[in-house]
Symmetry: C3
Amino acid sequence: MAEDKSLPEYKYVLHIDDMDPSKQELILNNARNLLDAYPPGDADIEIVAYGPGLRLMFAENVNAPRMDSLAQSGVRFSACDNTLKGMAKLLGEEPKLNPVATVVPGGIVRIGQLVKQGYIYVKP
Amino acid sequence: MAEDKSLPEYKYVLHIDDMDPSKQELILNNARNLLDAYPPGDADIEIVAYGPGLRLMFAENVNAPRMDSLAQSGVRFSACDNTLKGMAKLLGEEPKLNPVATVVPGGIVRIGQLVKQGYIYVKP
Amino acid sequence: MAEDKSLPEYKYVLHIDDMDPSKQELILNNARNLLDAYPPGDADIEIVAYGPGLRLMFAENVNAPRMDSLAQSGVRFSACDNTLKGMAKLLGEEPKLNPVATVVPGGIVRIGQLVKQGYIYVKP
């Protein structure tokens, strides 16, 4: 019986919660290296950001062009709503997010859901 | 047949080994967000601290009141004895721990035991 | 039927991508504590370094003697070739690696392979 190739074999959830810009670069490098390492469609990659790491997904983040390119290759970006709401309280309004980002209710809950679905967790 | 609801569906091991106070806040936020995200009793959460991260579990840590509240909601705190013994050598005596903390022989061994039991590992 | 004891029961992949020398010490402490916690041969440990964390595996790194000792106890060291190639571009030549290190095509891909083989992922 033919193997079902509709499901990606390698599923990764990459986690960022640091403010450090070098971590932002590193996590995007990681996603790119994963895309390059596997045949097209074999790597399913989701980047989950919460806490100070949510800055990666701000609209004005300097890495936005790279994120666009990764999103076009299928990488997903998940932004924590708990963090957004906390920032909105401090700033008076919610920060504007990069359009490639999808808001999820809780970043850490999202990570748990993905790991339970067989995603490999890596924290750069 | 009724599903066995005696076992929590979502089990998380949260790992701290950084001295950075912002990581201490973040890991406690993570635990709180997990408790809030699941029905009562569905989330089993253990925080494991070793190395410089053990400071979270010192009796005088500024986050002690939040830790009390989390412990009352079922969150467990595990403190690495390898680290405690190393600190005792440097300081002349073992640091006094928060009473909510349980000493485990090795923090990294404890993490491994929990992951083998199906806990989802997250490193804030 | 006798249990197959040829396979280590506890397999860990430890991940380093930070430049911070304290993280280098911590990850080596972790490996040592794991070796000490299990009967000889029961712990299979691989340290994977990429990005700024690759410095741990440079020939001139101050921790080289400890790494020799760990390697003699069976700990494996994997150095990311993507990172090496990037550093070679910046420096004009590839940094010289500790002879205990094995070059792998991609550090993050290696982590994924190990996790899929049942390794417990820990990021000190």
